[in-house]
Amino acid sequence: MNDALSALRAIGLDVSGITPGGRRLVVDGGAVEFVLARPSDIATYVERGAADLGIVGKDVLLESEARVVELVDLGFGACRFVVAAPRGAMQRSLDEYRHLGTLEVATKYPNVAERHFRARDIAVEIVKVAGSAEVAPLVGLADWIVDLVATGSTLRANGLAVVEEIASSTARLVANPASFQLRRQEIGPVVERLAAWAAPR
């Protein structure tokens, strides 16, 4: 959020009306109107044309498969989708996979997890959780997890190690496909300035 605000400020948009954590969610910014929303809702807003442009993580786009146009990689908000397993339990997991033919994987990102394991031809049962997947192996809910990590410290604190990286993610400038074509006059300069802002990073 703060990175997004400084990017918008850097290209000369008036973001003074936006207070992170504030109650006003639709904010007048002069030539543009800002809408503040949860990341996964931003993809929906833009996909359905409620907003013309959005700033949202690639992680959200991968999970939601929203039909939007990804215009600029803004570079901030870096994180990775990883498969993680209890440290030292790799051999046990693989034995179990051979024995039982399937592994249980807890995740907040079932679409990303399912696509990944299908592509690797590994049979898994996905267990969807709403938060804190990293405790799942500790409490015996699942063998592995698929989670989004920035530094990996949460994984380490829970005795987990990265088995494999699935994808890396950064914030993206996205547009509604129809708006991008029809409102090019208005959208174009914003896209160009954000691209120029992101380029040297």
């Binding site: 990804e70 990689d73 400038l173 090019r184 160009e192």
Partner: protein
């Protein structure tokens, strides 16, 4: 006796499955007007309607199927057709195997697509489209592009400059021509998913030089100041000759237009409306028929009729008004009532005996039977049944 509550349970739900909806008479009447107009426009360019079947054979995908498919009682995996172009391609490769000439085929029919729950997207889409099979070159491309513009115009949608975007898969792929085939394939896949940023960063990774990269980025972003490829402009200029001399510029070159459907090979286009989004899309698909038999050049488009209807409505559109309906109250002489109604219909006026609650926006006139030859209009004089049709011209 079953009470009304039984309609609320799972066995007897009152509404259709998610993503499907009832189209009630008012909307159905309006859609009928649009469909009739489109059928006329298609016929005026020599396209002849056909009806592919609702079911085609399904396919086992590694990805999540976008088809609604199931096993029939023979044990075959069958799918509700997800689009008509593929059905027409299959049909042409089989039934027109030995006829090498040009085919002009059109359809107005629903297609079905699986969509994730709670995404607010319809699973049934009504499409009206044409396929020109055997037509090749800029002239065929321009004819189909002009026909799309004309179809929208004749339905009442004003086609402004940015409404029709024209791209080219061949030219978009050509922007990355110096890269190896494998990298170019990945880049095209990213573009089909709308991931322009990802496509460009993949090109950078694959070693594309900075000046090429810069040119590709500008071409994909489109907009003013981008010099469009001559081939593309030629098609657009030719298509605009449909309304010669008119200042109206309605096609915009845009290489960033790479539709999600994988079968396009050449020119592609999309009609976009500010309020409802994509109204129609199409393009050249020279290899699709080859998947079912001998390859043949082909180009076509499909209009999403429900989206077009919404776009027309956003512009305060009114369907052509219909003849009013005469609601005729019977006289005690039932034989005279029947004869009177027949006489009125014979004179060109629509008649219903009694009343009707769902009028679907149609205007009605009330009258009572006097005898075989005369009716008493509720807000007027006694009138002759045979000449009523002349008095109420719409």
């Amino acid at each position: 006796m079953e009470g009304p509550h039984t309609y609320m349970n799972q066995q007897n739900p009152v509404g259709p499955p998610r993503g499907f909806r009832d189209i009630l008479p008012t909307e159905a009447r309006e859609l009928g007007v649009i469909e009739q107009t489109l059928a006329e426009v298609f016929a005026d360019s020599g396209f002849t309607p056909l009806h592919p079947p609702l079911l085609e054979f399904g396919a086992v995908d590694s990805a999540k199927p976008r088809r609604i498919q199931f096993l029939d009682s023979d044990g075959n995996l069958v799918a509700l057709r997800p689009d008509l172009t593929t059905s027409v391609a299959r049909l042409v490769a089989g039934r027109y195997r030995d006829m090498n000439g040009v085919l002009r085929l059109s359809y107005i029919a629903p297609v079905f697509r699986e969509e994730p729950p709670m995404s607010g997207v319809a699973r049934e889409v009504l499409q009206a489209g044409v396929e020109l099979i055997g037509g090749d070159g800029a002239l065929a491309d321009a004819e189909i592009l002009a026909l799309l513009a004309e179809s929208l115009e004749r339905c009442g949608l004003s086609v402004r400059e940015s409404t029709v975007q024209v791209g080219s898969i061949r030219l978009a792929s050509g922007l990355f021509g110096i890269l190896a085939d494998a990298a170019r394939g990945e880049i095209l896949r990213a573009l089909r998913e709308g991931d322009i940023a990802g496509a460009l960063s993949r090109a950078r990774e694959a070693g594309m030089p900075a000046d090429h990269l810069e040119r590709a980025a500008r071409a994909l972003a489109g907009g003013d100041g981008v010099e469009a490829e001559a081939d593309l402009c030629r098609v657009i200029d030719l298509a605009r000759e449909r309304w010669p001399g008119k200042d109206k510029r309605w096609g915009v070159p845009n290489l960033g237009l790479v539709p999600a459907l994988p079968y396009y090979t050449g020119v592609v286009f999309e009609a976009i409306h500010a309020d409802v989004g994509v109204v129609a899309s199409g393009g050249r698909y020279d290899l699709l028929i080859g998947a079912f038999g001998e390859p043949r050049p082909a180009i076509g488009f499909a209009i999403d009729v429900l989206q077009l209807h919404r776009a027309l409505f956003a512009g305060a559109w009114q369907p052509r008004s219909q003849r009013p309906l005469l609601l005729l109250r019977a006289s005690p002489d039932e034989r005279a009532t029947m004869r009177c109604a027949a006489t009125i219909r014979g004179g060109g006026m629509a008649v219903a005996l009694g009343d009707v609650v769902e009028r679907a926006g149609r205007s009605v006139i009330h009258a009572e039977v006097v005898d075989e030859r005369f009716v008493k209009l509720d807000d007027g004089p006694v009138a002759e049944a045979a000449t009523l049709g002349r008095d109420f011209v719409p």
